[in-house]
Symmetry: C2
Subunit: 279 residues, 2 copies
C-alpha cells in the first residue's frame, strides 16, 4: 500500500491505499504545531504496511528534491508554519520514502489518474474558494519548475475594482476568490443565488484566468472546483465565456467538475507515492 498526506490550510487528511482506492482514511485539524501534526500522521501510518508516502501540502513550499530547502514550507501567514521543514519533521516519524508537491498539484494528479480527468495526460485543476489554487499535470507528471506555480497570482485584465490580494490587488485571486466576490457584492457567495447576475461578472473574471491557463499550458481539460468554483451560477457560464475569449485561435479545453470531491488531494498524494515508488 501507499500513503497519502494532504496538509491543507485548515485540515490534514491521511489515507492509505493503492491505485487510487482508499483503504483507510483519517483527518484532523492541521493546527499550528508541526511536531504534533507529524505525531498524529505517524499514529495513523504506524500499523499500516506502506511502501512510500506522498505529501500534498499548502504552500508556498519547496518541492524540488535537488534544492537545499526541499520539503520546507516557505514564508506563510499561517501561524507556526513559516520556514518549517515539513519533510524533516515527518521523516523521523514515518519510516518510508516520501515525495512532496503542493495540495493543488496532488489534487490535479488524483483527478488526472482516477477522477474527472481520466484519459487526459495534460490537465489543470483549479479551485476557487478562500483563495484561487491551481495545480497542473503535464505529460502525466505534476508541474513544479523552480519552486511551483502560483497561477492564482497572474495579473488579468481588470474587470472589477477592489481586488483583495494583499500582494497584487487585482490579480486573478484578488478578483475571483470568495472574499473578493463577497467584498464586491456586499454578501458572502453562499447567499448569492445561482441565478443572480453577480455570477456574470465572477464568471468573466474566472474566464480571463482560464484563457491565460489555456494559452500557457494547452491542457486537454480544466477541472474547476472549490466553494465558489463549484457553484452552477459560475460553472455553467465558463465554457461559453472561455470560447468567446479565445476567439477561435486555440482549441477550447473541456471545463469539468471535479470527480473525486474532497478526496482528490489525498488520492493524488497516494498516487505521487506510488508513481515515485514504481519509477
Amino acid at each position: 500500500m501507499f500513503g497519502g498526506i494532504e496538509t491543507g490550510g485548515t485540515k490534514t487528511v491521511c489515507a492509505v491505499g493503492t491505485d487510487g482506492v482508499i483503504e483507510q482514511r483519517t483527518q484532523f485539524p492541521t493546527g499550528s504545531d508541526p511536531a504534533a501534526l507529524a505525531a498524529r500522521c505517524a499514529d495513523f501510518v504506524a500499523d499500516k504496511d506502506v511502501r512510500a508516502i506522498g505529501i500534498g501540502t499548502f504552500g508556498p513550499c519547496d518541492p524540488d528534491p535537488t534544492s537545499p530547502g526541499y520539503g520546507h514550507i516557505l514564508a506563510t501567514p499561517k501561524p507556526g508554519w513559516s520556514g518549517v521543514d515539513l519533510l524533516g519533521v515527518l521523516a523521523p516519524e514515518l519510516a518510508a520514502p516520501m515525495t512532496m508537491t503542493t495540495d493543488v498539484n496532488a489534487a490535479a494528479l488524483g483527478e488526472q489518474r482516477f477522477g474527472a480527468g481520466r484519459g487526459h495526460s495534460n490537465l489543470v485543476y483549479l479551485t476557487i474558494g478562500t483563495g484561487v489554487g491551481v495545480g497542473a499535470v503535464i505529460d502525466g507528471r505534476v508541474l513544479h519548475g523552480a519552486t511551483h506555480p502560483e497561477m492564482g497570482h497572474i495579473r488579468i485584465p481588470v474587470l472589477a475594482a477592489g481586488g483583495v490580494c494583499p500582494y497584487h490587488g487585482n490579480c486573478f485571486e484578488g478578483l475571483a476568490s470568495g472574499p473578493a466576490m463577497a467584498a464586491r457584492e456586499g454578501r458572502p457567495g453562499g447567499e448569492i443565488a445561482d441565478d443572480d447576475p453577480a455570477w456574470d461578472l465572477e464568471a468573466r473574471i474566472v474566464a480571463a484566468g482560464l484563457h491565460a491557463i489555456t494559452c500557457m499550458l494547452s491542457p486537454q481539460c480544466i477541472i474547476v472546483g472549490g466553494g465558489v468554483g463549484s457553484r452552477s451560477g459560475l460553472h455553467r457560464r465558463l465554457p461559453g465565456l472561455l470560447t468567446r475569449s479565445l476567439a477561435g485561435y486555440v482549441a477550447v479545453p473541456d471545463i469539468l467538475a471535479p470527480g473525486l470531491g474532497p478526496d482528490a488531494g489525498v488520492i493524488g498524494a497516494m498516487t505521487l507515492a506510488q508513481d515515485q515508488s514504481q519509477g
Copy 2:
C-alpha cells in the same frame, strides 16, 4: 550526427551536428511550396550520416505523436501551409526518424542545453518581434500539452489602447509586438532610440507578460530576445518592473539575453533529435 531543421515564418535553417555543435549549416526561404522545401532539406541532409532529425516549426502545429494529426501545420495565414502534413512531406525525403516541436520550443531547448540557460532545467524563451513567441522547457523537456502553448495570446492588464492582434486585440502579442509598438508610436521600433520614453510603456506591457509566465511556470530564468525583445531600451527595464509586479510573492526569475543568437532554434532542433534518439 543529428539533424535539425527550423522552418521559420520566412526562412528555413538546416544543420547537422552533435551536442549542440553545428558541423554544417544551410538556409533558404521557407516559401509557399512544402514539397519544394522538403526537397531542399533532403538535398542538404542526403550526404550526411544523420541518426535522427528534429524539426522546430512555425505554428500552429500538432506536435503530439499520439494524435492523428501529428506533424501537421494547423490553420495559418501563411500561403501554402494551412493543414499541410509537414512531417509527412519530409518523411519520404529524409530517411531518418523525426521529432517535431514549435520553433520557439526548439529555441528554448537549445538555449537551455547549450546557451544562456545552461544549468537550468526549467526556462522560458520569449521572442518579441513581428509577433510574440514563447517556448518552454520543463524538467529538461519541451512543453507541449494538448497541442502547444500559445503564450503570446494571454490577455494581460490593458496598459495601452489599440492592440493589433486580429483575434484578441489587446492580448500580450497584440500590445507588445513590433507592429503594436509601431502603431502606438507612429514609427517602427527601429527608429525609436534606446533612451526614448516609448520603451517605458513597452517594458510595462512585456513585464505583465513576464509576470504571468513566472506565476504559471515558475521558470528559473526567462530568455528575452527578438528584434524588439533584444533592444536595451526594453531589456534593461524588465528585471525591475517584474520584481515590482510580483511584489515579493514569488521569486523573480533571471531575465537573460539569448546566448545562441539566430541558431538557437536549429541547435534546439538538433538537440531534440539527439534526446529522442538517446531516450
